[in-house]
Symmetry: C2
Subunit: 165 residues, 2 copies
């Protein structure tokens, strides 16, 4: 009985964390609920900083990706990039696999709401397993935008969808 | 009107392909329907053969992965590995991204049904965008099993789940 109560408390505690205890980004954007259950758009391996990445999308983003409607992406699309440090697979050293979780970052498309920053996207990142909001002050996203400027011509998104038959 | 009819025919044609026109593997296993919508377990980059991989799972597999119940994986779990050739991202050359689709391969856990091959898993692969079944004869999976023998001690699966907070 005692064991069950402890388990229940633990379960409540965990679900509380997932139900909105993660603080918003400095620009007010909230961590998208349930992003762990999103479907996948592509993956990448950055050999410059030794990280592996999954690029996920909400339903609107997945539909757009599959229809090839990604320049521009539709309003309502959210893209998530989930990043891990790399390590060799234990039993296949020439396969590079995820190690420690680094951060999850998101782009929220809303061409009206985010017209002011010149991209039509909202930008946010949460760092580490403790999901600490990244950035200081509401204009931190200028750093994101600077880095994404090379892909201004493809609606500010590096990723091209990797489609499956 | 004519345009619509053509579109309808095309749509019917496409859905027919997805509703079971992919031939089964030589051992009788069927391509899991809807695998493109599965959630993701991990990713990897094989630098020996220059491919990027997404490892997906059906609902039973995802639940097991999140609970850490993967040695053994539960009966009913299906793991999918979707493979692309690699290429540098157009606008970030140090990011390696998917290029041409290579194949999708699956492991089906059923400790009774697949007891005979000594692994408790069924094995199958479909090659190319045309989804051609891989292998000759019902025993082709010995090739899969030989390659997975280094991970016999972790229920024949290389992948360790990459969890998200």
């Amino acid at each position: 009985m005692k064991k069950k109560s402890l388990f229940t408390l633990l379960a409540l505690g965990l679900s509380a964390v997932h139900a909105g205890e993660v603080p918003p980004a400095p620009n007010g954007l909230e961590l998208p609920e349930g992003y762990r259950d999103w479907r996948i758009i592509s993956i990448s391996h950055r050999i410059d900083n030794h990280t592996l990445r999954m690029i996920l999308g909400n339903d609107i983003a997945i539909e757009a990706a599959r229809k090839g409607q990604t320049n521009p992406w539709p309003d309502g699309a959210i893209l998530g990039k989930v990043v891990w440090k790399e390590k060799p697979e234990d039993h296949w050293k020439k396969a590079i696999a995820p190690d420690r979780f680094v951060h999850a970052e998101f782009m929220y498309k809303d061409s009206k709401r985010f017209a002011d920053n010149g991209t039509g996207w909202g930008w946010a990142r949460w760092v580490g397993r403790e999901q600490k909001p990244y950035g200081k002050g509401p204009n931190f996203a200028q750093e994101c935008i600077a880095c994404h400027t090379p892909v201004k011509g493809q609606d500010w998104v590096f990723t091209r969808p990797a489609l499956m038959p």
